[in-house]
Symmetry: C2
Subunit: 469 residues, 2 copies
């Protein structure tokens, strides 16, 4: 979600003209603002159309391993910050916040400040935040779990105690933008799991933004600190005299925060490591190309240059229409340079002979967001194994899930949907197994247990059992 480095990938190949794009063509009657018949643009298309006939196409690997490694210097800086705050405590955390985040004034956000800032927010955005919180809460409440146990036939009791984590840190990125949705998506599942203490960290040198203040207020979170980067992560992981350590840190950050999270993993738990965003749209010629193009751009606008915006289609016509709509929307966008960079790097339209290959290709890419805008989206959805979230049909535009619908927007990137899951309520529980053996169960099974321990050479395991027989 946040770039790691943006200078390591240069795909000159993207400048090659794609032959499929060579002909003039017309656009079908879509719902919205139909394009006029266009001539082939004089320059190379921003979004290349690439015919793919096999899963071995080299692009698949390029897409799923596109995140660059951070430089050794950054890694060293992060380690130094962590070590410093671990040994020197709060004063060091504060000093780094002043130095790197530009913090002025106190680090802890006061209740008065939250109240005053929240009051300033546009009522429409307030309503949107309230709606989003309600929806996210509802969805995640369906992921709640309860402790259980059962009694076995020899009188033994076995079970699992499922408890919320006690204290969680939420990192809300700051700097250029303000991201109340990040706060909502990370804090609500924790609250639904029953986490009592949530500490929010966010780099906000000029004071927290009204939207963050309002979200904090609505969520009932009273503990927030204006600090970001590795210093925020160190403060949460190790604790200081003024801020108690947490059990888990969630939320995306800049490269420093991300590396710091990796380093403290084990000292605390962390959520997944978020990479640059991805969208993959399966579209046929029933899809409005203008909508598909807009959805592709919604991921390309993040600004790292590493976002992947991919369309897979079986229709050469649809491919051309979509490429054209992308060109038009990019042309008209105030974010043109940002969009072009991402799209030329990792934007593609893959033209496949059939949906067998199309679905297999989507599965190999294992996208964070998968939209299916075809005549029968369910049929294709049933064939997809690997995706963070699936958006079915023309009205399920990806931002619906980013902001509002209820499912989490923290999703696996970089092909990791093969094995990772969206952030959920389940991420804020911890489990403890429960075993109560009865004298009868020990008498009956003890000899077998001791035999297994002996087989593994653990004679004192065996002895602990035999003493009870």
């Amino acid at each position: 979600m946040v770039p790691v480095r943006s200078d390591a990938f240069d795909e000159s190949d993207a400048l090659r003209r794609n032959s499929l794009h060579d002909r003039a063509y017309s656009r079908p009657r879509g719902k919205n603002a139909p394009l006029k018949t266009m001539k082939t643009p004089a320059t190379a298309p921003i979004l290349r159309i690439v015919p793919v006939k096999s899963l071995k196409h080299p692009d698949v690997r390029a897409i799923t391993s596109r995140e660059p490694s951070p430089s050794p210097e950054i890694t060293e800086t992060v380690k130094a910050i962590l070590a410093d705050i671990k040994s020197k405590g709060h004063a060091a955390a504060l000093a780094y916040a002043r130095k790197h985040d530009g913090l002025k004034g106190p680090m802890a956000v006061s209740q008065a400040d939250i109240k005053a800032k929240a009051a300033k927010l546009d009522p429409k955005v307030k309503k949107a935040i309230r709606g989003a919180i309600a929806n996210v809460r509802r969805f995640h409440s369906l992921q709640q779990e309860k402790s259980w146990s059962f009694k076995g036939r020899d009188g033994e009791t076995l079970g699992q105690i499922i408890r919320p984590l006690r204290r969680v840190g939420v990192y809300v990125p700051g700097g250029a933008g303000t991201y109340p949705s990040t706060l909502i998506m990370n804090a609500v599942p924790a609250q639904v799991a029953g986490v009592r203490e949530i500490a929010v960290v966010t780099p906000a040198p000029g004071g927290i933004h009204p939207s963050i203040a309002f979200a904090l207020q609505e969520l009932g979170i009273k503990e927030a600190y204006r600090i970001g980067g590795a210093q925020a992560v160190a403060m949460l992981a190790y604790g200081t005299a003024k801020v108690e350590r947490v059990d888990k840190i969630v939320g995306p950050g800049n490269v420093f925060a991300t590396l710091a999270k990796k380093e403290v993993f084990g000292t605390v738990d962390i959520d997944m490591i978020a990479g640059p965003s991805e969208i993959l749209v399966l579209a046929d010629d029933s899809a409005d190309p203008d909508w598909v193009a807009a959805d592709l751009l919604s991921q390309a606008e993040h600004g790292s240059g590493y976002e992947a915006a991919i369309c897979i289609t079986t229709s050469a016509k649809a491919a051309r229409w979509i490429a054209d709509c992308v060109a038009q929307q990019v042309e008209a966008s105030p974010k043109r340079a940002i969009l072009e960079k991402s799209l030329r790097n990792f934007g593609r339209i893959y033209l496949v002979p059939d949906w067998n290959l199309g679905c297999a290709l989507a599965d190999a890419i294992a996208p964070e967001h998968l939209e299916i805008i075809t005549r029968n989206p369910d049929a294709l959805s049933a064939r997809i194994r690997n995706a963070g979230a699936i958006f079915l049909g023309p009205y399920s535009s990806e931002p619906v899930g980013d902001y509002f619908a209820g499912p989490n927007h923290v999703l696996p990137t970089n092909g990791s949907a093969r094995f990772f899951s969206p952030l959920g309520t389940y991420d804020f529980y911890k489990r403890t197994s429960l075993i109560r053996y009865s004298p009868q169960a020990m008498k009956k099974h003890g000899p077998l247990i001791a035999a297994l321990a002996d087989e593994e050479g653990f004679i004192h395991h065996a002895q602990a059992v035999r003493k009870r027989l």
Copy 2:
């Protein structure tokens, strides 16, 4: 579970005589082989009795941060092996197995070999393995989950698809010992989740052991390779021409395998990083000290010197009895040197004034295994938040859970029970969110969604929504 390095901790303090141990005392009538009245041993006690009056006692930190860091040389070796196998494939994996594991003959284990070896196993161990598999399967089947979805009031459908991982690698340590219980505890939850493909790796230069062969047969696992260390992890994570890559690698290994798992995390998923084993026993004077001592020794025998074996008691008498039983059992053990090393490093009896502090201390240590052998174990259990597994009452000796009862023996170590959970069926699922927005839902909520996107500065997110209004 497997040592990382065993030369980094030397606690000369353990040699100091503990004053509480100074008096002669007698042992109560326990169920088993009562000790005779003993005089104070002439040498320092193996298990020190340490009066603890506050949570700030320095031992707490020593126990929860006792795992040493691997040397930079080992880290470099591991990185080189991973890079080599990633680029050169199967031939490199095979070469490392020959070099480091001492492999002779083929790496893949044949069905004929499994069958022949399995037939050789002692019938009693066969019965024990069958029983363990049945119990572990039953317990983990209670952790099964199913996909779900619901329809919202504006016609939108939201849900979560829960699917098993497709292919999982299980690392079974080899070398000195043979660990069928590791295979069972790691493979059964995967099978219960529905994982179809399981590839087992284990360093077994002289051929796989009958107990492993029999467990493979009982579990219906046909894919096994004689390879260990970083080379096994690399082969599973990257795949080779002969062995397909997996989605997740589980199971404890030596320092090379452990470091390799950390390195490939993200390319595949991994289970937790297993540290040296821990047992903490809460005991009062109703506990048979001979049993408590045996349970403490069952963890100390693992052999790394980093195992923690701790007893917390409110009874000075119990403390002395237990220390004495430990001394006697160590004296009589063929593993005396191994036991002494662990116990002098990280073996302790903490004498606390009351169970308030006792439970708080247990919580701060957050042990892998917690036994409660007191008059009212449930009352104490209810006050513990952090533990991998809790064993209640005198008959729930820790090996019961290691081998047979049903709950998993892969448990969080080194204080990470604060936030990590036992390995479970839940670790072999992955989830995909499902969003199908209706035209009506888009019409009603679209303006709010676009407002939130605008608030965050994501104009193309907003545009993707507004095009549909």
